[in-house]
Symmetry: C2
């Protein structure tokens, strides 16, 4: 793979200039990456409900108020309209367009949802000596539409999307232990071992991203995925929904380990 | 104090029958208690933003979709319209009414926000031998409007409300360590030691709840409080906002230690 970037602001700047293509996996080891969902304010409460009821695929990191594209908690000064490498535009549940910026489709009632991403904990695994297969191959993590049903919230209902990482059997305990420390980034897996048990028939044919080789000594491990809202939208059919391109995330300035609510404010002010 | 109830469903049933008065502090040691904020869907995205940006006073446990009063994640079968002991109704930021149920003011566009509560971690402190002063006195925890400013989100901006617990100096380390385990229930304190530093002039005159004695060997310790939205509403002035009566919480069925997103789904289905 190309040289690893370490600062989120650098990735965002490249994305803004249109100089980034492909996955963000493997970059900025010390920071959190995030899925993006933009929805009109009229359905934002309903979608917030969906996220809180499905914290495995949709852990809330920050919600932005209507029309304000700056995620001032996660990345002060950043702009959700430009700083993601690539966007998808869904209308009435149908993917109608992919774009590199949102200038022409932005609206004053759009609410942004930043959801935790498994790319965040991959760095902890890599540092512990676990090979992240899609990073080694320079491809996008394989994602599958599973048969696990999300907990519904109003019109938002549907199957959970999951990511696959093949893990050598000898490292399985380590992987479970490490990923459990990142509940804000999908946390422990939703399934270990048998793809068929969660409705996945062929590991070589992911619904999003690219396939990776699964060896004889590997165990297939599946985590909740923040692409879930893009599949749920097919049934919920909101008039407009804009997301990141799967695998190409918004890079936050939040430290990798920072759990929402665990931050301390001592002595006052907006600082944290 | 009266006999301690252990099951949340029993407290909710008594509240529903109008047979509960006073604080819920000290009850249901094994479960999470929650602050309630109900807002019209039109401002729900903006308020969700405020909560995510201020996770110390407003840790999100569950959001309910418009018009649906059942918090199916936190307390399946419960009803947010009746199961809180007492409610406050704010219109355009002014407290206009206190009610014991919401039948006459419920609307199909109301979105419910359940926010973590410090009563949850009090049980962990009590089990470790820390006296919870307001529980010992059978009064409501003292709450103060501090000078700590919340991180704004659209029209939602203003000061953070904090709870006070006097802690014997010898137990301070223990209290910090234990409360840190509950980021979903305000977590570590926002200030320790000097009330004046966060704009509190007189510990004997709380803005909500009742005063408690603070001894010479006590350190005043302050935590973020889920009553913050009620004060923020005075400035944001949403046309309608309904909350719990401070100290009289919604009792959830969530285990005390259950952190959002840390729950495991293994093998599929809506179960968790």
């Amino acid at each position: 793979m190309a040289a690893i970037l370490t600062m989120p602001a650098e990735v965002r700047a490249r994305a803004r200039r249109g100089e980034w293509s492909g996955t963000t996996a493997g970059h900025c080891p010390r920071y959190q990456q995030a899925n993006l969902v933009l929805l009109p304010a009229a359905v934002a409460g309903e979608f917030a409900s969906f996220c809180t009821r499905n914290p495995k695929p949709c852990p809330l990191i920050e919600v932005t108020p209507p029309g304000d594209p700056e995620p001032r908690l996660s990345a002060p000064g950043a702009d959700l309209r430009n700083d993601v490498p690539s966007y998808r535009v869904y209308r009435n549940g149908e993917l109608v367009e992919k774009r590199s910026d949102l200038r022409e489709v932005w609206r004053d009632d759009l609410v942004g949802f930043l959801l935790g991403c498994s790319h965040t904990f991959e760095h902890a695994l890599a540092e512990a000596g676990v090979e992240i297969r899609h990073v080694a191959y320079g491809t996008t993590v394989p994602m599958f539409i599973s048969s696990i049903r999300c907990v519904p919230a109003g019109r938002f209902a549907g199957p959970m999307v999951v990511t696959l990482r093949p893990v050598p059997r000898s490292q399985l305990g380590l992987v479970l232990e490490l990923s459990a420390r990142y509940p804000h980034a999908h946390g422990v897996p939703v399934h270990v071992g048998d793809p068929g048990k969660i409705g996945i028939e062929d590991l070589a044919r992911p619904d999003f991203g690219d396939p990776v080789p699964v060896g004889e000594d590997d165990v297939p491990v599946f985590w909740g995925c923040g692409v879930t809202p893009q599949v749920v939208a097919r049934e919920a059919r909101p008039e407009l929904m804009i997301t990141h391109e799967p695998g190409q995330m918004f890079m936050t300035d939040l430290p990798r380990e920072a759990l929402p609510g665990a931050w301390t404010v001592l002595g006052g002010g907006e600082k944290r």
